[in-house]
Assembly symmetry: C2
DNA sequence: TATTGTTATACTCTATAACTATA
DNA sequence: TATAGTTATAGAGTATAACAATA
């Protein structure tokens, strides 16, 4: 039997539950929207979105995998699916023959464009409809800090994360 | 091509990204902790936790499914797994022979107790380590409002609003 | 007829380990 | 040897539809 650590305060519990409730409902709805509007899973959307953000529309497999927090084999699978749908292409890197460069296609960008408006609407109606501009500022400040810290100091506490 | 709706402000985008990043890293770590410490999936944990919260330690299948936002067949599957591990029992309701009442066992409560400390530690180190008490108050206020609104106006908002 | 739940089934996703090839 | 990626595989989870039993 493990020692009980300092428990969370009731405020912290509230905050934690609210966060999980909001994010899980939000994610649920986003997943449905992505599937309905573009036949994309959440992960596939994020892969495409990352590629779309890149100035050249391309990334190495490993960099993509790191960004989406994925196993490489998992990313290979998803890249295959996207490739078969013609939304990305894959080719060995000229610089390093071991690497595979994934590039978003015009069709891929088109799917992103199809999917974006609905995505925005879901996020707005689920998250921002109830929030003031000040609330949004507060969220950015607070969650931004938490995110920054998580990014900087990975989950050593409980998880045996992959080395970065 | 769909009409572009009012885009999200850059602040809103920041807030959205911070929220998804924090919640996804948090959830990832929580899932690992639950699996390592108790052999529980996220869903299984929530089913057990809901039962544990109930004064009598029992719930109808449908009520559980609603609470966890699940398909009934999905819950049947999970209840089966938990049943086989001896963490819950299932029996037809005396009141309504159609219903199945799921009850948490002592073994189930023991697993919850085993898993809780690590869970708390993950949440603390991932979410609250970087936050002040005031931050937590703000989160409760803001996300609590968002959660309340989502709860009041169910998924229909995003799912029904297809096409335009 | 409507509701509760299970079953049958088919599919998506994910991770681990073994493997190839480059560096 | 170490790194990048794929493949093989196996398991978990999910949803849909058909079904049985009860209300």
């Amino acid at each position: 039997m493990t020692d009980a650590p300092t428990p969370l305060s009731s405020k912290q519990l509230e905050a934690y539950f609210a966060l999980t409730e909001v994010s899980s409902l939000l994610r649920h709805s986003v997943e449905k929207q992505l599937r309905d509007d573009g036949g994309l899973s959440y992960v596939q959307f994020h892969v495409l979105a990352r590629l779309g953000d890149d100035p050249d529309g391309r990334q190495r497999m490993t960099d993509l995998a790191d960004g989406v927090v994925y196993s490489r084999s998992g990313l290979t699978y998803q890249a295959q699916v996207l490739d078969e749908r013609g939304l990305v292409t894959r080719a060995p890197s000229p610089d390093d023959e071991r690497s595979t460069i994934v590039t978003i296609t015009d069709a891929g960008r088109a799917v992103l464009a199809t999917v974006f408006p609905g995505h925005v609407e879901v996020v707005r109606s689920h998250l921002f409809a109830a929030l003031s501009d000040d609330d949004v500022d507060d969220l950015v400040r607070i969650l931004g800090r938490a995110a920054g810290r998580l990014r900087a100091a990975p989950p050593r506490s409980a998880a045996g994360r992959r080395r970065v």
